[in-house]
């Protein structure tokens, strides 16, 4: 069904007020949660394991942070968590799909089960969570925002990351189609960082990290702190950015 041309521009999508961040217990996700709380937003975060850092944030922001232990691959638990968040903080109007698992194995030596687990966690489950959150937003007549954390691996090849790259490329592609499908009512964008130090990238050897730094014009690896202002902008600002993938890698991939 094609959209009739609009006679007037739709009103802007307001800044996010209640943001759900998947994988908010450590690494980039925790940094995003911390940053959004400091900016005065209400934030909900989950991961399989709740860390002391997340608990400490909960104590600091008891009225603004709701968190829990949820496996993104358990869609029933994810949906129950979304309902809990709505009760605790109010309707969710933004989702940051950040939870993911890494990979460090050559494709031929990755078991079919491991491959399926990577695709389930990094692509299928985020799409199912997105679908559920969108259904809640649309049913409530809300406008909103989606930010998918993808990776430079979606655009450049890296050995040992075949399935992981496929999932990140899948999320980039989904971001574009979501932006089209949601007709400007919900802004969907992706942020694709280069490699940064975290539990996920701990598998990279020092030689590889040095090599990435040498090939990066800005001379340093991406830090979570480099990514935060971009995520915040996508959640809060009026920029007409929609369906885009913003690469944050110091031009390492250019």
């Amino acid at each position: 069904m094609s959209e009739a041309p609009r006679s007037e521009a739709p009103s802007a999508v307001p800044p996010a007020s209640v943001v759900l961040v998947s994988g908010g217990s450590r690494g980039l996700g925790l940094a995003i949660v911390t940053d959004l709380l400091a900016a005065g937003l209400k934030v909900a975060a989950f991961a399989r394991t709740v860390t002391p850092e997340l608990t400490a944030l909960g104590e600091k922001y008891p009225d603004h942070l709701h968190y829990g232990s949820v496996d993104v691959n358990d869609s029933a638990a994810g949906q129950a968590f979304v309902r809990d968040v709505e009760n605790a903080l109010g309707p969710i109007d933004a989702l940051v799909n950040n939870a993911a698992i890494g990979q460090d194995s050559l494709h031929v030596h990755t078991s079919a089960e491991h491959l399926a687990e990577i695709i389930q966690t990094n692509l299928t489950s985020p799409l199912i969570l997105t679908r559920f959150v969108l259904r809640r937003m649309l049913a409530k007549g809300l406008k909103g925002r989606i930010v998918n954390i993808t990776s430079i691996c979606a655009q450049r090849g890296y050995p040992g990351l075949v399935a992981y790259s496929a999932t990140k490329g899948g999320m980039d592609a989904a971001t574009r189609s979501l932006a089209r499908e949601l007709g400007g009512r919900i802004l969907a964008n992706a942020v694709a960082p280069g490699f940064f130090a975290s539990e996920m990238s701990a598998v990279l050897g020092q030689t590889q990290l040095d090599q990435i730094v040498r090939r990066t014009p800005t001379g340093h690896l991406t830090e979570p702190e480099d990514v935060l202002p971009v995520v915040r902008m996508l959640l809060l600002e009026n920029t007409n950015l929609n369906g885009q993938v913003l690469v944050i890698d110091g031009a390492a991939s250019i």
Binding site: D104, S105, L106, V108, H109, T110, S111, P159
Partner: protein
């Protein structure tokens, strides 16, 4: 390991301490070797890349394959 190298017109040095970079045995050659061992065993030997990165000599290759087989 000798078979993989012979198939590429090269030969396996006698010493276990021989450096893989010097003899031109690359990670894909290692994959080929592991897959040949799988064929013989009739079972998959999947493994992560960090283990591979520690392999530097002919002896390391043989130890790694042995480890995989007994895992």
């Amino acid at each position: 390991m000798g078979e993989v190298m012979t198939a590429q017109g090269r030969s396996l040095p006698a010493e276990d301490t021989a450096d893989l970079r010097e003899i031109g045995f690359r990670s894909l050659d290692f994959s080929e070797l592991a897959l040949r061992v799988e064929d013989e065993l009739g079972d998959e030997l999947n493994f992560d890349a960090p283990g591979l990165r520690r392999i530097a000599t002919v002896g390391d290759v043989l130890d790694f394959i042995e480890q995989l087989q007994s895992a």
